[in-house]
């Protein structure tokens, strides 16, 4: 118990260190001393530095590297928290945030925007809207029938996800193959090259708020993962809390697509790794997943920037890292699956 509680501050320190180290990583080499001097100058007006050097550093750190790092942290935390809460809620450790179709819906929205509207803002709005619409359809399908709600929601998610995946194919088919189609395809591979502060602020605030809310509600997740009837007999208003958690998870996942396109596998494997580290208790698992997810995605972004001369889309890296890792943890994780 005690070691578990100590792990959260520890992870926070690791996250801060990861952010610091990542600021030094990039095509233009910067040492920790350069950055240290720069921050001393900016924050405490200490030391001195050439003005051109200052501008360069300011441009590199604040305009190029920092937004990417913050975006990676937000996306990693959001997907991991959404994944962890879905895994508990749907009583299944193999579930990922895309279960109810949010990622399929959001990708369709993004593609739709890229083909039929010129503005990036419209693309982002459509992404967000269709992410929610897909989940709304899944929930509505589940509500239409009486029976095992969890099962019906999963089926609703499969239907809704399949529908938007097909619609996405329609859009890809009618898209102009010279420039629209490549744009769509690249966007669906996920990447942080288009991140700007405006998007970051607009998406980041709701994401942070919903992550905080899920952490505050995480006390109910253990009981929810024992099944509906048991949770209800423990005095929990299951339907209400589940709907609220689905809403929050959808909000944060849809916004990750708005920021960076499709980033797969994070929401599935990070909660697993975290569970191996801190145990299954969701009160600790959810905040720890947020931190580990953030650290993981910052690291992945560093790899995707630095590995080759050309940047690799981050979604490709998360899949390539995620799949073999999943195979590795599968054996260990089986123990706890019953």
């Amino acid at each position: 118990m005690k070691t578990n509680k100590k792990i959260l501050p520890l992870l926070l320190i690791v996250l801060v260190l990861t952010i610091c180290v990542s600021l030094t990583i990039g095509k233009y080499p910067l040492g920790l001393t350069d950055i240290g001097n720069f921050f001393l100058l900016k924050l405490f007006k200490m030391g001195n530095m050439d003005v051109r050097q200052q501008d360069l550093l300011s441009n590199l750190l604040f305009d190029i590297r920092l937004p990417r790092i913050l975006a990676a942290a937000l996306i990693g935390a959001s997907l991991s928290v959404a994944g962890a809460s879905f895994q508990a809620m749907f009583v299944n450790p193999l579930v990922s945030p895309s279960l109810l179709g949010v990622l399929a819906g959001a990708s369709f929205g993004a593609a739709l925007g890229m083909v039929f509207s010129g503005s990036w803002f419209a693309v982002q709005c459509l992404t967000f809207f269709f992410g929610f619409l897909a989940v709304g359809i899944a929930v509505a399908i589940a509500k239409m029938h009486k029976g095992n709600t969890i099962l019906l929601l999963i089926l609703g998610g499969i239907i809704s996800g399949a529908m938007f995946t097909s619609l996405l194919s329609v859009i890809k088919y009618i898209a102009d193959p010279a420039n629209q189609l490549p744009a769509i395809v690249q966007w669906l591979m996920g990447g942080l090259s288009l991140v700007d502060y405006k998007t970051l602020l607009a998406a980041g605030i709701p994401q942070i708020v919903s992550i905080a809310l899920v952490i505050l509600f995480s006390g109910y997740l253990n009981a929810l993962s024992m099944g509906d009837e048991e949770a209800r007999s423990l005095g929990i208003r299951v339907e209400r809390i589940r709907l609220l958690l689905i809403f929050l998870a959808t909000l944060m996942s849809a916004l990750t697509v708005v920021i960076a396109g499709m980033i797969g596998w994070v929401g599935l494997i990070i909660p697993h790794i975290t569970r191996m580290l801190v145990g299954p208790d969701n009160k600790i698992l959810v905040p720890a997943s947020a931190l580990i997810g953030a650290i993981y995605l910052i690291a992945v972004d560093n790899v995707s920037r630095m590995l080759f001369v050309v940047e690799i889309p981050m979604g490709i890296v998360t899949s390539l890292v995620g799949i073999p890792f999943f195979v590795l943890i599968l054996r260990k994780a089986q123990k706890g699956w019953g």
Partner: protein, 286 residues
């Protein structure tokens, strides 16, 4: 019975589409009683239990707890009074036994909550009461079925409820664990806890229940003290099984002996003898 009923079920009917599961059930339960609900598979006893817990809404009738309709009570308040002890199951996640028992504190919590030291003490106290505190930090998925059932009872105790509704509590447990579980039920009922348990075992009912309720095809066919209700005729009517319910020599309760096996008793006895003779040497060696 002059006592005011703790739980009163009035005219409960319930049906899934087309099929009637329960028809006009009346039942009242007094504080401190151990009531066994018996009936064949699909007779509606699980449905009745779920209605008593407020998990299912009956088509007609109502369940009163101390005179108040449970559907009008706050779910958290209801959980403080009535606890559900489900059939032993495995969780998908390896929570520690303490984490599972702590879930029982949720009805005492509001909105965003963290467990306090008091909750910890109550949970640990509940495990101690059932003499399973050695399990505290074990994974719930790795302990035995009997230990899991005791953990779920500890959770019900931590809930602060005094009425426990159990679905097949002894199902899937080995003989020793079944007896341990029944011991605990008797112990707690002496302290004033009320138990309503659906069970497949007339023996268990005869051993520990004050009262048996027999349900067939959604209606109560008998309700009363076990020795009066669990009879040869009733068991045949209920299960279509020929069982002799016999007075046990000076024992406190009756026993069930299947007639089919009784009928061949002599043959069985002879066979056992011969087997025994043949194996005697081997058995002695062991």
């Amino acid at each position: 019975m002059g006592l005011k009923p703790l739980i009163k079920i009035e005219g409960i009917s319930f049906g899934y589409t087309q099929k009637t599961v329960l028809a006009d059930i009346d039942l009242s339960i007094t504080k401190g009683e151990v009531v066994a609900v018996l009936g064949p598979n699909g007779c509606g006893k699980s449905t009745l239990i779920k209605i008593m817990l407020g998990l299912l809404r009956p088509d007609a009738g109502r369940v009163l707890l101390n005179g108040e309709n449970i559907r009008k009570l706050d779910t958290r308040y209801l959980a403080q009074k009535i606890a559900y002890v489900p059939q032993t199951h495995k969780s998908s996640f390896p929570y520690s036994v303490l984490d599972v028992v702590l879930m029982g504190r949720i009805p005492h919590k509001t909105f965003f909550f963290r467990y306090s030291n008091k909750d910890m003490k109550i949970a640990q106290g509940a495990l101690e009461r059932l003499s399973v505190s050695h399990l505290t930090s074990r994974a719930y998925t790795e302990i035995s079925g009997g230990e899991r059932q005791l953990t779920l009872i500890a959770r019900a105790l931590a809930q602060g409820a005094t009425t426990f509704i159990m679905d097949e509590p002894a199902g899937g447990l080995d003989y020793g664990n079944q007896l341990k579980l029944l011991d605990q039920i008797v112990k707690l009922s002496r302290e004033g806890y009320t138990f309503i348990k659906a069970t497949h075992s007339p023996e268990h009912a005869l051993w520990i229940a004050h009262r048996a309720v027999l349900i067939k095809k959604g209606t109560i066919i008998a309700d009363g003290p076990c020795d009066d209700v669990i009879t040869t005729e009733n068991l045949f009517h209920l299960y279509n099984a020929r069982v002799n319910v016999l007075k046990f020599n000076d024992g406190p309760f009756n026993v069930c002996v299947p007639q089919t096996i009784c009928g061949c008793m002599d043959a069985l006895h002879d066979r056992k003898e011969s087997i025994f003779e043949n194996n005697q040497k081997v058995m002695q060696c062991q």
